[in-house]
Amino acid sequence: MTPSTIELTPTKEDRRIARHAAAAIVLTVAEAAIPLPLPGVKPGLANIVTLVVLARWGWREAVWVSLLRVLAGSLLLGQFLAPGFFLSLSGALASLVVLGMAMHLPQRWFGPVSHSILAAFAHIGAQLVVARLWLVPHDGVFYLTPVFALAAVVFGLVNGLVAARLLQELVQGERTEAVER
């Protein structure tokens, strides 16, 4: 075999992104197995990973993790380039834009729970717009808005709480590590 002329050395950052993306992909696949009453209403557990990455490593890494998750998750579920993929992608992009703004809110009052709920609303908003413009060209799609909005509040709250808890424990874990050293 000819030795490769291109040497790719993954940086520490690359490995970290890959690790987080892998965790998010696992959650996406696991979530696909949960039966849900309405198409489109999903807990979005993978977003917990995005929230944690956002808080610890910043917006750029959160974008990487989120988009890698959408891409690889759709490949694994056989959804790549299907309508569901574009709905996920539009939702993820809108959430990331909103997260980019929400992270600058005063930290004293607004934590991961706020970020999570705001991102969930951005997610359903973008999905409804894409669905209305492209998949169901009728105002009837907006009829389900209250259901989606309620799901955004509930799952946004739960995901945000889990992310906040994980962040708390990660910080505590680092502290104890530092003390032991």
């Binding site: 009052w109 706020s114 709920i117 955004a152 808890r165």
Partner: protein, 129 residues
Amino acid sequence: MKPDLGGWRALLRAGDVAVAVAGLGVCVFALLTLWRGGAPDGAVIRAGGKVVAEVDLVHARTIEVPGPLGVTVVEIRPGRARVASDPGPRQYCVRQGWLTQAGAVAICAPNQVSLSLSGRAADYDSLNY
């Protein structure tokens, strides 16, 4: 095992509660505006039994409908419609005023013009006064 609810509550900051409440507010607002029963979608205008116009109730406009006695003027406004003037002798359809419910009908019988509001979820087959 007792669930540690206090631990979870400590993770909520003041703004988080505000955001969650605002989110619920959006739900209620969406529910009230989108799930109104009986809200009309559009208006159907007939003359001599034939449909002459089917319009939405989004843009304000005035429609003139010719009949055997003269011109009946139908006024459309966002969410409602009425017969503004009619050449008929008793003016029943004009005096009915604004129609706001899906299924409501104003009939100007002498001039053979009718105005009815259509809707996805009409509470009534027809309304008269």
